[in-house]
């Protein structure tokens, strides 16, 4: 088991990544795959904006526009935002709590490969007869009527990747519950770990509803059932409920980790502990709880009746309270701090007013009576892009810059990083601020074009110009990544100089066992405490000893690949004779490899303490 990956050939490196169960490598896999899908989703966004740049445009046709629109939403939520956040969770959370690995390394790898194959399956629809075209919400009446296999790609792809997400969520929860270092109590956990915890709990309870919803729609489309067929007694509102019982918590699954990333960045660059730590934790948990009580605000215009609408409206508005607590805490953390305006801090400072705008329009939309006006207009589009881009994408970009040295051992260029920030920040507001007005002026969402003379021309053109700014910003980021990787100037444990939490106490990138000796945590911001007492690093909590590590495995890849094959079989079962055999073959691959995994003994291996001591520094006695 070699520890230095530098000297390996390409084939060996590839095999290493295909079989890895190391959370830091899985994090890199999530970042690569999520980053790729982010570019795909971004390209789709550009097509949308080009099409809408001028009235009566024919850049893409109406049908293709629907496919692009559907895939943009689906890709960005399920295949870009969540995996990128999962990447950060994998990379950072186990380090923050002082763990050597996650609770289920094998399941962690399986979760990634399921997401990956699900995402690939969904995107193959472009080449196999057309992408899904019923919107990312895929409302049953519309998706049942959709011809071809587009919606089937959506259903099967999301079912596979959703299973992966659920596994990831359980894995993070158990890691946090069981594997915290000595002294790391719940109320000493960094905020990013807390938000990972709550977001994972939301995944655990929200994804089963999506699983059921997708199963029902899949049965209706592929196996002749009648859940949503009104003529046979079905009801399409059931889909809307199931989708949003998942869909609304999903918003918080995305935004809570984003809050967590900013809650790490702001104290580091304000060089002050997070203001109101316990109220931040409380607000996080409360947002998670309320997140399950509000889903029907997506359905105000369905006709649920005034009582249901009123209940859900009030519950929705209540979420503004814990979110407000967070906003004030971030401001008070900066207040009086000695602020360093690094690139991550730029994003953090820009995030607060941007997200606030999204929050305020959220309260406007929560007023059920007023929602009848806003519903299905660009006002809604503007609102959720302010929340998701202004919250999640800003956080992902900030986190990339912030944690890049910890993940790869080298710093991204700060000057280029700031160029990316300014281009993205300006482009974002240019694109989406005007869309509030477009919506209020009456432009409906999900339309592939608009006609002249309704007063939408200038605003749409402005919006499209903004989108190009964001595209250029992304290109600059890619250039930054390439330049940095070529230069590869190695950095030490704490490259930002003001790290407060445990991940900054170990080398960048960390050795595969993370901590030679588990650290003793003596309070919130444990590394900062040691620094304030003039120590260089953490005090170990245990003597140097053998470390138990799991073996690499190719099985997660094979299990996921089997489902990928089976999905093709399920979809083409009625069209071709080979459908059913392929379905059975795929399931056989999956269950066969699960069987192999269960029957084989896999006890992992031990790193002996002699191997640990021959590094440059001798292990400190506990």
């Amino acid at each position: 088991m070699s520890t230095n990956a530098q000297k390996k050939g390409f084939g060996a490196t590839l095999w290493d990544f295909l079989t890895t169960v190391d959370h830091k490598k899985i994090a890199i896999l999530y970042m690569i795959a999520g980053g790729f899908f982010f570019l795909v989703g971004g390209l789709e966004a550009m097509f949308i904006r080009i099409q809408l740049a001028v009235p009566n445009n024919d850049f893409v046709g109406a049908g293709l526009y629907n496919e692009i629109l559907t895939m943009h939403g689906t890709t960005m939520i399920f295949l870009a935002a969540m995996p990128l956040l999962f990447g950060f969770m994998n990379a950072v959370m186990p380090l923050q709590i002082g763990a050597r690995d996650v609770a289920f390394p094998f399941v962690n790898a399986l979760g990634f490969w399921l997401f990956f194959f699900g995402g690939v399956f969904l995107n193959l629809s472009w080449f196999l007869g057309g992408a899904p075209d019923a919107g990312w919400t895929s409302y049953a009446s519309l998706s049942l009527a959709s011809e071809g296999h587009g919606v089937d790609f959506y259903l099967l792809g999301l079912q596979i990747s959703g299973a992966g997400t659920l596994m990831g969520g359980i894995n993070f929860l158990v890691t946090i519950i069981n594997m915290r270092a000595p002294g790391m109590t719940y109320m000493r956990m960094p905020l990013f770990t807390w938000t990972t915890f709550v977001a994972s709990a939301l995944i655990l309870f929200a994804f089963p509803a999506l699983t059921v919803g997708i199963f029902l729609l899949m049965f209706d489309r592929l196996f002749g059932s009648n859940f949503f067929v009104t003529a046979a007694g079905g009801n399409t509102v059931i889909w809307e409920h199931l989708f949003w019982i998942f869909g609304h918590p999903e918003v918080y699954i995305l935004v809570l980790p984003a809050f967590g990333i900013f809650s790490e960045i702001i104290p580091v660059f304000s060089r002050k502990r997070l203001f109101g730590y316990s109220s931040m934790v409380f607000a996080t948990v409360l947002i998670g709880f309320l997140g399950f009580m509000v889903w029907a605000h997506h359905m105000f215009t369905v006709g649920l009746g005034p009582i249901a609408n009123a209940i859900f409206a009030v519950a929705t508005m209540a979420i503004a309270v814990p979110t407000g607590i967070k906003i004030f805490n971030w401001l008070f953390t900066m207040w009086g701090g000695s602020i360093k305006f690094t690139t991550p801090m730029h994003y953090a400072v820009a995030f607060i007013p941007t997200f606030l705008l999204g929050g305020v329009t959220g309260v406007m939309l929560a007023a059920a009576a007023a929602d009848y006006q806003y519903h299905d207009t660009y006002f809604v589009v503007a609102h959720f892009h302010y929340v998701i881009v202004g919250g999640v994408v800003f956080a992902v970009l900030a986190g990339t810059q912030f944690y890049w040295p910890k993940m790869f051992g080298t710093m991204l260029n700060e000057a280029l990083g700031k160029i990316t920030f300014w281009l993205f920040f300006i482009g974002f507001h240019l694109t989406f601020f005007i869309q509030h007005f477009l919506g209020l002026w009456g432009m409906p969402r999900r339309v592939f074009t608009f006609i002249e003379g309704q007063g939408f021309e200038t605003a749409n053109l402005v919006s499209t110009i903004g989108a190009f700014f964001m595209a250029v910003a992304t290109v600059v980021l890619l250039i930054n990544i390439i330049i940095t990787s070529i230069k590869n100037e190695k950095v030490g444990n704490d490259p930002w100089g003001d790290g407060r939490t445990l991940e900054w106490a170990i080398p960048s990138p960390p050795p595969f066992y993370n901590f030679k000796q588990l650290p003793l945590v003596r309070g919130l911001d444990p590394l900062w405490i040691e620094k304030m007492e003039g120590k260089k690093g953490m005090t170990p909590a245990e003597p140097l000893g053998d470390i138990h590590m799991p073996n690499n495995s190719f099985t997660p890849f094979v299990i996921s690949f089997g489902l990928f094959v089976a999905a093709f079989g399920a979809m083409y079962r009625l069209d071709y004779n080979w459908g059913l055999p392929v379905l059975i073959l795929g399931m056989a691959i999956t269950f066969g490899s699960m069987f192999y995994r269960s029957v084989k003994d896999d006890h992992g291996f031990h790193i002996h303490k002699e191997e640990l001591t021959d590094d440059n520094d001798k292990g400190v006695k506990a």
């Binding site: 158990v174 594997m179 089963p208 859940f227 067929v229 046979a232 007694g233 199931l242 019982i245």
Partner: protein, 209 residues
């Protein structure tokens, strides 16, 4: 204590399923999974309740026409008893009595198979006697999906227990497989929990009308 260590009665701990870190992780992780499964089955129950007796035409069979007390009662007894037998299996596991544990697990499997046989007969009966199928109505779709998901869990649970029994038949108990046996039995109890609601909500309430 390492997971792969050869065990003796003297070394066997009081809570073998939670002795290793792997065991502790599996224990918590599996309970969390059951929390998620609760939502999954709740969604299926909710769908069933919303679509109960929603049929395309008046000739179609309704819940009160379909269900009969004797069969539902028999199935309930089989599954409830199998829950107790798996408790016996875990009792012997804690006492480090491998042979007896295997025996009780075997009985659990037989009872589970009996339940499955009844369910297959029942579905077959509804399809042929009442033309109540998966595709005949929204009610049919919801009924077969809810009860079928539970049946699928029974199949998975049985395969799991059989696999564990076969795999460890020669190896005996260790701290490596004790958590696995424990989780399989938790899963089996959860299947029974779901069935308690199925027989109450689907069958009994269906007969009430």
């Amino acid at each position: 204590m390492h997971a792969e260590e050869k065990m003796t009665l003297e070394k066997w701990p009081a809570a073998p399923e939670k002795q290793t870190l792997e065991g502790k992780n599996k224990f918590v992780g599996f309970w969390l999974f059951l929390g998620g499964e609760t939502v999954l089955f709740a969604s299926l129950f909710a769908t069933y309740l919303a679509l109960k007796d929603k049929v395309p035409n008046p000739e179609h069979a309704l819940a009160k026409d379909l269900f009969e007390i004797p069969l539902a009662f028999l199935m309930t007894m089989l599954l409830l008893t199998s829950s107790l037998t798996s408790v016996y299996a875990m009792y012997h596991m804690k006492n480090f009595e491998f042979k007896k544990m295997q025996l009780w697990l075997g009985i659990t499997v037989l009872l589970g198979l009996g339940f499955l046989g009844c369910e297959i007969y029942e579905f077959n009966h509804y399809v042929h006697e009442y033309h109540h199928t998966f595709t005949s109505s929204a009610f049919g779709s919801a009924f077969y999906t809810l009860v079928g998901f539970h049946g699928g869990h029974v199949v998975f649970g049985l395969s799991w227990i059989i696999l564990l029994m076969a795999r460890n038949a020669k190896r005996g108990l260790s701290l490596y497989n004790a958590p696995k046996f424990y989780l399989a039995s938790l899963y089996w109890h959860f299947i029974d929990v779901v069935w308690v609601f199925i027989f109450s909500v689907v069958y009994l309430m269906g007969m009430v009308g």
